[in-house]
C-alpha cells in the first residue's frame, strides 16, 4: 500500500474536528497497528479455513460437536464482546471531544467486559471438563479448543493494552488533537471482536 507509506505519522491526528467524528481519509491509529491487525485477521482466516476442511473430512463429528457445547456461554461472550466494542467506540468519541474522564470510564467498562469474557470462558472450559469434553475427545473439540483458546489469549493481551491506554490517559498522554496511540488500541480491540463474530456461529451454532 504505497499510499500508507507516504503518509507522515505526525499528520495522522492533526486537525481533528471536535464533533466526535474521526477525520476523513485518515489511517485510524497508525500504520504499525494495521500490519498487526491484517496479520491477526490472516491468522484467524487460516483457522476458519482449517475448520471448513476438518468439517468436510469429519462431518458426523462436526454435526454432533456443537450440540455438546455450552451455547449459552458462547452467546453470552458474543454479547459481552459486542458490548466491549461499543464501550471502546464511545471512549473514542469522548476523547475527540476532550472529555477525558468519560473516555476513562468507557475504557473501564471495556475492561469489565474483557474480564467477564475470561470468567465465562473459564466456566465454559470447566463445564466441558465436567461433561467429559477435552482437546483429545475428537477432531471437532481439538479445533474448538485451538480456536477459542487462541482467541482467549487475544482478549487477554487486548485487555492489557486497554489498561495501558487508561494509564497513559491518566498521565495526560492523549487529547482531542493527539490520540493516535489510543485509536491504535481501539482498532486492535475491534479486530478481536470481529474474529469472534465469525467464530461464534462456526463453532457453536452451525451444524
Amino acid at each position: 500500500m504505497p499510499q500508507l507509506a507516504s503518509q507522515p505519522s505526525a499528520d495522522l491526528s492533526a486537525a481533528v474536528p471536535r464533533d466526535g467524528l474521526p477525520r476523513p481519509g485518515r489511517i485510524p491509529g497508525n500504520q504499525a497497528i494495521w500490519v498487526g491487525i491484517f496479520s491477526e485477521m490472516s491468522e484467524f482466516g487460516i483457522m476458519f479455513l482449517a475448520f471448513f476442511i476438518a468439517k468436510a473430512h469429519y462431518p458426523v463429528l462436526f454435526l454432533e460437536g456443537p450440540t455438546r457445547l455450552n451455547t449459552t456461554a458462547g452467546l453470552v461472550n458474543t454479547l459481552v464482546l459486542l458490548s466491549s466494542s461499543y464501550f471502546v467506540a464511545k471512549a473514542m468519541v469522548a476523547i475527540r471531544q476532550e472529555r477525558r474522564r468519560d473516555c476513562v470510564r468507557w475504557l473501564w467498562a471495556a475492561i469489565g467486559a474483557a474480564v467477564a469474557y475470561l470468567v465465562v470462558k473459564y466456566i465454559e472450559y470447566e463445564w466441558n471438563s465436567a461433561h467429559g469434553i477435552s482437546i483429545d475427545t475428537n477432531s471437532f473439540f481439538a479445533v474448538y479448543y485451538y480456536m477459542t483458546f487462541n482467541h482467549l489469549l487475544h482478549v487477554g493481551w487486548g485487555g492489557g493494552a486497554i489498561l495501558w491506554a487508561i494509564m497513559r490517559l491518566k498521565m495526560g498522554a492523549y487529547s482531542a488533537d493527539d490520540h493516535e496511540g489510543l485509536e491504535a488500541v481501539a482498532v486492535y480491540w475491534h479486530m478481536i471482536d470481529l474474529a469472534w463474530i465469525v467464530m461464534f456461529p462456526l463453532v457453536y451454532v452451525l451444524r
Binding site: P28, I53, L82, H190, L194, I197, V205
Partner: protein
C-alpha cells in the same frame, strides 16, 4: 455530537438483537442450507457494521476500509460454499 452518540447506542442494540435472534432461530430450526445462508448473511452484516461504525473505517483510507470489508464478504461466502460442497472440499484437501 448527540446524533453520533445515539447512533452508536442504536447500533449496539441492533447487534445485540441480531445475535440473540439468529442464535434462537438456529438453535430451534432444523439444520440445513437455508439456516447456513441466514447465519452467513448475519455474520456479514454484523462484521460490516462493526468495521464501518465501531472501528470507524467508513471515512478511513480506502485500502484499509476495502480490505476489512472484503473479509466480511469472503468468509460468509466460504461458510455457504463449504456447506454446499463438502465432498469437493474433502477431495481437494485429501493428501
Amino acid at each position: 455530537m448527540k446524533r453520533l452518540y445515539q447512533s452508536l447506542d442504536v447500533l449496539w442494540l441492533l447487534l445485540m438483537g441480531m445475535t440473540l435472534g439468529t442464535t434462537a432461530v438456529a438453535e430451534n430450526a432444523h439444520p440445513g442450507l437455508w439456516m447456513t445462508v441466514v447465519v452467513a448473511v448475519v455474520v456479514g452484516i454484523k462484521g460490516r457494521l462493526v468495521v464501518d461504525h465501531f472501528m470507524e473505517l467508513r471515512t478511513a483510507r480506502a485500502p484499509i476500509r476495502h480490505l476489512m470489508n472484503a473479509y466480511f464478504y469472503v468468509f460468509p461466502t466460504l461458510i455457504v460454499l463449504a456447506s454446499l460442497y463438502p465432498e469437493r472440499l474433502k477431495e481437494w484437501t485429501t493428501l
